[in-house]
């Protein structure tokens, strides 16, 4: 197609509509071909496949459920959460492990803000391989390990991807606290040493429930202590749908005294 004229260039550009790729958002999300069991297509609000080494971000309403799926077994979902519209309230990883008395994420864990409230709860988890202590990778470290860490290079660093995602919500590098990651596990030994347990395999998924309106940032990039010499990261499926936040009658609300008080604090600002 001749693109030497504005008319030709326009025709060429418009002819691309309808092209599908393996990693792309689907709009509207209700067009996603395989909604989760029990979810009506019309309730889908986010349907995307994120490339290995890619990132994504979205604002989700309170109550929305967000399912991340490790399609091929080598995804790693580095996650940051902020309260939508007031990003000075954000994920606090230290409180998330300390208040819940557990360093390992799994079903029933609550992701806490720095204001003593629940940002999200872990509704289901078929992976069990997650990490709260290692954070994500940096430009410097990926350059040392893989020869490159730039966002458009072959081994994008998580912090660089977070920087881009954050910028699209008016946030800067100073707004990037420690993150958590799903689908690549780390265990802590009695001497404090770390063991990388890697992936649970293809198809593992984690479902989070937004307990407050959230700005969600996700970087899908190799875990910082992944021992493999080659940068390895595979695509991740992201689906979200309208649902209800945890209520006082939900077993999760009463699962622990710390969690109950966190939900009470959350209710105080979301009524």
């Amino acid at each position: 197609m001749a693109t030497s004229t504005t008319y030709g260039a326009r025709e060429h550009a418009r002819a691309q509509e309808g092209t599908r790729s393996d990693t792309m958002p689907v709009l509207p999300a209700s067009d996603w071909p395989a909604p989760p069991d029990g979810v009506a297509p019309a309730d889908l609000v986010w349907a995307e496949t994120v490339a290995g080494g890619g990132y994504t971000h979205k604002v989700l309403a309170r109550g929305t459920e967000l399912r991340l799926t490790d399609l091929a077994g080598d995804a790693c979902a580095h996650l940051l959460l902020y309260v939508a519209g007031r990003p000075w309230e954000r994920l606090n990883v230290a409180d998330t492990v300390k208040v819940l008395w557990n360093a390992y994420l799994g079903e029933g864990h609550l992701l806490l803000s720095d204001q003593g409230r629940v940002l999200a709860s872990v509704v289901t988890d078929t992976s069990g391989r997650h990490d709260t202590v290692c954070g994500t990778s940096t430009l410097r470290r990926n350059t040392e390990r893989y020869g490159d860490g730039t966002p458009h290079g072959p081994a994008p660093a998580g912090r660089e991807l977070f920087t881009l995602a954050a910028a699209k919500h008016g946030l800067e590098r100073r707004d990037l606290p420690p993150s958590i990651s799903f689908f690549q596990g780390v265990r802590v030994g009695p001497d404090g040493g770390l063991t990388f347990t890697g992936s649970a395999g293809a198809g593992a998924s984690v479902t989070l429930r937004a307990e407050m309106p959230l700005t969600v940032l996700i970087a899908n990039t190799a875990h910082p202590i992944d021992p493999r010499p080659a940068y390895t990261c595979t695509p991740m499926e992201v689906l979200a749908w309208r649902a209800r936040p945890t209520g006082p009658g939900d077993p999760l609300w009463q699962a622990s005294p710390e969690g109950r008080r966190a939900f009470l604090n959350t209710a105080e600002v979301t009524r």
């Binding site: 300390k98 954070g135 100073r174 606290p177 770390l194 008080r261």
Partner: protein, 203 residues
Amino acid sequence: MTLTDTPVLDVTVPARAPWSAIVRAGQELTITDLGGNQAVDCLLYDAHDTAVRYSAPDTVHAQGGIFLTTGSVLMSNEHTPLMTVVADTCGRHDTVGGACSKESNTLRYGHHTYSQHACVENFLIEGGRHGLGKRDLVSNINWFMNVPVEPDGTLGIVDGISAPGLAVTLRAETDVLVLVSNCPQINNPCNGFDPTPVRMTVR
């Protein structure tokens, strides 16, 4: 710059109080636990660019473990060294527990603790003197605090292993702003339920 026996700074930080100082590249900061088992919450910033600051996760994954002691390099969020632990008579310090806040105290102990002092307040008060705000607070070091992790992931602040006179010495690898909250916590064993003063010496 040469190290001398005469400190350029030697102060006692009262129980519960905040403190900060710029430690120049090559200088050494010694934190002495005067009363024993006093948790010293600590954040580090590149003195010339505070967007570059202590990163607990980078420190943990760079050294392959969550406990700090002699030889540990305290890394920034850009994965550059800020300070190195060059001496430590305590033997273990915490990287994962973070700071107490009035808000987290309501979850950990109950809403009756909301009126009490907390480290985040100290960080905001002292950090504000250097242009730092809430967005600049990240997971911090807790000198002298003991936070073991059990095989099932259970984690918590337990009785300290520090004692009066034990100390940790940090060498600055670049000009570093050190921000400290001498933890006011009285609801858990991090201070033996009794906050005490600490001594800060820069040579």
